[in-house]
Amino acid sequence: MSGKEEVLSRQISVKSKVRVQMPRKLRGILLGSAIPAVLLVVWQYLSHIGVFESHLMPAPTAVFDKLAEMVNDGSLYGHVGITLYRIFFGFVIGVSAAVVLGALVGYAKTAEHLLDPLIQAFRAIPSLAWVPLFILWMGIAEPSKITLIAVGVFFPVYLNIVSGIQGVDRKLIEVGKIYNFSDFELIKRIILPASLPSFLVGIRSGLGLGWMFVVAAELMGASKGVGYLLVVGQNTYSPDLVIASIVLIAILGKTSDSLLKKLEDRALHWQDSIGKKA
């Protein structure tokens, strides 16, 4: 009798194991999209029965139709393209400047005393406050927008690099010193890899801010771009266009962040932390 029970319980445990193991990735995706899916259905239903008025809050299908329309007439690519172009260059410039200054300030005490107070003071200024100045200096075309994005990206990356470098375990640096490493070798073989995790955190939050500032820049004066679509939607009383643009930004932002996340996972596979499966 007890033998029978044992067999039974074993079967159950095998079953549950298989269920947990097999679709790990799929399960993640399903779980992650469960709530959005429910919300979409509710939204659609509420629009359908008229709780949401369509001239204020169009149904998901209407938003989707709008997106499809823009895809079909080809206008979407131009807008997305120019936005991606701006964020790409703003991001690259912001990150490069942050890497150079952050490495300097993090590694050299003198540079820290010289530069860090100034940079911290600039950080206290909300980046949007620069907009008028940038427009006066560089006009309303691309350079002022890209500069604004670069400024927004710069600070989180800079802060994370500095704290990453300053947080490198002195004990690991001593190992390098024992082998008589030059400053350059110390940086390349110990400090950079050891501060990589916090650098990548900085890059991801920098990219998030980049999206914020690209939209801000395009809201304030552009003739093309996803942010410009928002303005058009507002001026032509078409909430479907506004919501479609927001959805677009969400998709683009999420996609670019996932790419960085993937890069991060690949670069940091050696890390021992929760959230990483064995």
Binding site: E174, Y179, W270
Partner: protein
């Protein structure tokens, strides 16, 4: 000429109330010297001075008769913690101190085998046990073929069994390379099992209080009666002549037998 000679070295902190002072010591090639002492008497500081990591000392450190004042390629150190680079595999960690790519791989593999880690070359530190990580760190310091190896309580964080295994590993390495070693430890048994000579530091700042020789030929038996007698002697040195304040101090710091 002596392999290693310390001439009247002092390194103190906090207005001379911590660190160590007036330490003189000579070691022949292949000699294993143990440094025993209560917590805080400057043993780690002494090794940092010898390794060249701490250069603010007075006195002279001589290797083969030449005074040195900075890190030296003939001196290697094994820290209390493994201090592995978490982003490198075991093999890459072992090769960390080698310059030049030529033969790097082959040498690293050779030392991986030497410390008994064949099959774990590709593991990252997070996937190694404490004993394995310490083996990697031993191999990393040996691969540059130092003539003098400094060890700062290298096995103190390990369980008794792993500890004995690594002590024997150290002896086999010593046999093969005739490395001169300075071994700081809290463990009297370990000192008696491994060392030719034992220096006892006492005080704040620490000074050489006694020096004794262990005559027993290697390999020694861990239960040897003569070693047990010397252990008694060392214990009495560590406890002798104490002021009441030290009494209190040592009760809480002498390692339990």
């Amino acid at each position: 000429m002596k392999m290693l000679a310390l001439e009247n070295i002092s390194r103190t902190f906090a207005n001379g109330s911590a660190g160590f002072k007036n330490v003189s010591l000579e070691a022949e090639k292949g000699e294993v010297i143990g440094v025993l002492g209560t917590s805080g008497c400057g043993k780690s500081t002494l090794l940092r001075v010898l390794s060249g990591l701490d250069q603010e000392y007075t006195g002279h450190v001589k290797v083969n008769g030449n005074a040195i004042k900075s890190v030296h390629k003939d001196i290697g150190i094994i820290f209390q913690e493994p201090r592995l680079m978490p982003w490198l595999t075991a093999l890459e960690n072992i090769a960390f101190g080698l310059k030049g790519a030529a033969k790097k791989q082959k040498q690293a593999e050779e030392f991986t085998n030497l410390v008994g880690l064949a099959g774990f070359e590709g593991h990252y530190p997070k996937d190694l046990s404490g004993g394995m990580a310490q083996r990697v760190s031993i191999a990393r310091s040996l691969i540059t073929k130092p003539e003098i190896l400094l060890l700062d309580e290298p096995f103190s964080a390990l369980d008794a069994f792993t500890k004995m295994q690594l002590q024997d590993l150290l002896l086999s390495i010593w046999k093969q390379y005739q490395t001169t070693m300075v071994l700081v430890t809290h463990d009297i048994d370990e000192a008696l099992y491994l060392c030719d000579r034992i220096i006892i530091l006492r005080g704040q700042p620490g000074e050489v209080y006694k020096e004794l020789t262990v005559q027993q030929p290697r390999p020694r038996s861990r239960g040897d009666a003569e070693l047990a007698r010397q252990k008694e002697e060392i214990l009495s040195f560590l406890n002798l002549n104490k002021t009441s304040q030290e009494d209190h101090y040592e009760k809480s710091n002498t390692p339990a037998k």
